[in-house]
């Protein structure tokens, strides 16, 4: 969730968005989070393709899969689709 919240006198009427939707962090809706295992991962990018929130990116410089926990809702599709079991879903706070 966006950290700084405004009062009713400051925001536009009718729910008009005054920031782009990317500024609205939805990651705290999740109960589970994916944990990535770099050893098992073959960089097939299926997780990136399947992620419904666009929360998984590949960094070619470091050869890492980057999980954006500001937007990951913990649905587990990435872990389910991963052909090498390189993603494990864990309960938040117990990782």
């Amino acid at each position: 969730m966006t950290p700084e919240k405004k009062g009713w006198k400051e925001i536009p009427l009718a729910g008009v968005c005054w920031v782009p939707s990317t500024e609205y962090k939805t990651g705290d809706w999740s109960a589970n989070k994916p944990v990535w295992n770099t050893e098992k991962c073959v960089r097939c990018m299926l997780c990136h393709i399947y992620c419904p929130d666009g929360a998984i990116k590949y960094d070619p410089e470091t050869n890492d899969m980057i999980f954006d926990y500001n937007f990951c809702k913990g649905c587990g599709i990435c872990a389910n689709e991963c052909p090498t079991d390189a993603i494990e879903m864990v309960i938040k706070g117990k990782e």
Binding site: W8, I11, P12, A14, G15, V16, C17
Partner: protein, 409 residues
């Protein structure tokens, strides 16, 4: 004295509404015919067919669609109008809340009719009373003249950038909608000038720029999106604030209109009738106020200090006016043309009673539920209410707080 020469036309309530809308330069009308509102839709389609207006008329398949169409057209900056009654208003229920939440200043006439079942086409206020908490301004007309005047005022009130709330104007089904009356109408150019063009406020968009509050491809906006526990509450508080501001704006618009037309209705919110020195009083809305005025005159001739408080606006509730008008009365009867089943009285009774709770010396207050499903409310019935009030004023004793009048036991 009216300063502007006006034409007297023989109009029933529905035709008076249609004529007012014709003069208000409305961009979009989307409506579905339903008794007793049908004449409004028929008359207005004639204006469209004859090329007398430049309005886009959308024949929709239901009232839910009618309100959706008006909301979306309004969101593009268009001036919009629709009309409905009873089951039609009930079918709109969902979209009434969406329209007020999107702050779309749609104007609608509700030709008040009983809700089914059993099916009934005649007048009571159960339809619009069931919509009282949906963020719409509610004005009720006593006669066709007031219906005409109120529609014109409604556009100015709804579209005020400080308000931006949809507004409904209630008129009693058949009693007004189908009854011919001499209605004085202003020249069209005067009405057009009075309502003006829509004044669109600026809002901050997602790029942080101030842009006109309307859907326009040149300046994209998102209106009414997902809004959870973090901001929904704030947006509802804004609607409440707009309602509070409307109290002042309704009076201003009423006064400005009165200056031009020579017609006024109290202060625009409430219309007290011989109430200043009255000891006993009734409170009512709609066409019954006309009958009550006649009885008040008769009682006054017989030395009885009777008065009436006609509520013209029910949302926002003019609490301060109600307090100042009714404080010091010896007995008050609130007349409700709607039932709030299991609610210990009708909706008007609840509201008048809650407002008067703040008075140090609370006047005795009783409730009469009357006229459901178009049951006639003849003068003798009103007279009997005042007789009851006299007894209450004398003895201070209330036998039945909530009574059904005109009902067979």
């Amino acid at each position: 004295m009216a300063k502007i020469e006006q034409k007297t036309m023989p109009l029933n309530g529905d035709a008076a509404v249609a004529y007012a809308v014709k003069q208000c330069d409305v961009d979009v009308v989307a409506a579905y015919p339903i008794t007793p509102q049908t004449i409004i839709v028929e008359k207005f389609s004639e204006y469209v067919a004859n090329g007398e207006v430049e309005t886009a008329f959308v024949c929709v398949e239901s009232e839910h669609s009618a309100m959706t169409c008006c909301l979306t057209a309004s969101a593009t900056g268009a001036r919009t109008f629709t009309a409905t009654a009873s089951a039609g208003l009930a079918l709109m229920h969902e979209m009434l809340g969406v329209t007020s939440g999107c702050r779309a200043p749609v104007v609608m006439s509700v030709v008040n009719r009983a809700l089914s079942a059993p099916i009934n086409i005649h007048c009571d206020h159960s339809d619009s009373m069931a919509a009282r908490d949906l963020g719409w301004i509610q004005i009720y007309a006593e006669n066709s003249q007031e219906a005409y005047d109120s529609i014109i005022q409604a556009f100015r009130i709804a579209e005020n950038p400080e308000i931006m709330l949809p507004t409904m104007v209630g008129l009693d089904g058949f009693v007004l909608s189908h009854t011919l009356e001499n209605v004085n109408v202003l020249p069209t150019e005067v009405v057009k000038k009075f309502v003006g063009t829509r004044n669109i406020p600026l809002v901050m968009n997602h790029k942080g720029e101030m842009v006109p509050f309307k859907l326009d491809p040149e300046t994209p906006l998102t209106i009414g999106p997902l809004d959870l526990y973090d901001y929904y509450f704030e947006h509802k508080r804004q609607q409440e604030e707009a309602m509070r501001r409307a109290v002042k704006v309704i009076k201003q618009v009423h006064d400005e209109y009165a200056e031009q037309s020579g017609r006024s209705y109290g202060n625009g919110l409430v219309e007290p009738y011989r109430l200043d020195d009255a000891e006993i009083a009734t409170v009512c809305i709609g066409s019954t106020a006309g009958t009550v005025k006649t009885i008040v005159d008769e009682l006054r001739e017989n030395g009885i200090k009777a008065g009436l408080l006609k509520l013209r606006v029910f949302r926002p509730l003019p609490a301060q006016d109600i307090i100042s008008c009714l404080s010091g009365k010896k007995a008050i009867a609130v007349m409700d043309r709607a039932c709030s089943f299991g609610g210990n009285g009708g909706p008007m009774f609840h509201e008048i009673r809650h407002v008067l709770y703040d008075l140090p010396n609370k006047p005795p207050l009783v409730n009469y539920i009357y006229g459901l499903g178009g049951r006639d409310t003849p003068p003798y019935m009103i007279d009997s209410i005042y007789r009851d009030l006299q007894k209450i004023a004398e003895t201070g004793q209330i036998k039945d707080k909530v009574q059904f009048i005109g009902l067979r036991e």
